[in-house]
């Protein structure tokens, strides 16, 4: 089992991350990758919303975030048979459409890889010490946690 966790300002290359997981061992039969992007939350509202997202500022608690992500990965390992996991989360000031988070899971079989990737994202969103501040055209505002994210994470709790 090979794992890696990185909190970084720099962007990442999806292809490189994929190749790293692919080359772990010859027993890898499935790789699931997830990439999250900075989304202009209110752009869909169009004229009704009226304002646009200029940037997203990502803050984290150094060392605690890495430890929490490692714990989430350990939990994934104990639930599913996995060959490798890689998690990258960017911090600092990001612009709409920028890559913000990467989760890659390599496993022998796809069902384990799909489940572990979903589990890691759901727990990352609700447990890792990261905070988003939205810079709108007219104001800046720390974002609150979404109920849908809490619900998504809680479905894994009941499996314990």
């Amino acid at each position: 089992m090979k794992t890696s966790v990185s909190i970084q300002c720099a962007d990442f290359d999806l292809g490189e991350e994929y190749q790293r997981l692919r080359k772990l061992t010859l027993s890898v039969g499935a790789i699931v990758t997830f990439t999250g992007l900075v989304r202009d939350i209110e752009s869909i509202a169009g004229a009704a919303g009226g304002r646009s997202l200029k940037a997203l500022f990502l803050q984290h608690y150094p060392k605690m975030t890495e430890r929490l992500l490692s714990e989430i990965i350990e939990q994934a390992q104990s639930r599913w048979s996995i060959t490798g996991i890689s998690v990258i989360h960017r911090v600092g000031r990001l612009l709409p459409n920028d890559q913000i988070v990467f989760v890659g899971v390599a496993a022998e079989h796809r069902d384990n890889a799909f489940s572990a990737a979903e589990f890691i994202m759901d727990y990352l969103k609700t447990r890792a010490t990261l905070w988003k501040k939205a810079e709108w055209s007219d104001e800046a505002q720390w974002l609150g946690i979404k109920q849908s994210d809490l619900d998504a994470a809680s479905r894994w709790d009941s499996d314990d």
Partner: protein, 83 residues
């Protein structure tokens, strides 16, 4: 010495607070630290007491009555919004 950290919106409210403070018995738990903060910064203390706010000592989430000792790092964590 205690090192205090305020994350997310709590950081915006803690602008004037000295985040490196001399340790004293009156700061022996996270709850006591909030009581001390309330004396000078009631608006920040009110936010720290919101039920969703968690406290970490040396980067581990703990109970508000956990003992804090000289040299500890105490961080106040609003609900997280990563991903």
């Amino acid at each position: 010495m205690l090192e205090l950290h305020f994350f997310g919106r709590l950081g915006d409210l803690s602008g004037e607070i000295d985040t490196s403070i001399d340790y004293g018995d009156f700061l022996s738990t996270p709850s006591a630290i909030v009581d001390w903060i309330a004396l000078e910064h009631p608006a920040l203390a009110k936010e720290l007491l919101q039920p969703q706010v968690l406290v970490a000592v040396n980067r581990v989430v703990v109970d508000w009555n956990k003992a804090v000792v000289d040299g500890d790092e105490v961080a106040f964590l609003p609900p997280v919004t990563g991903g």
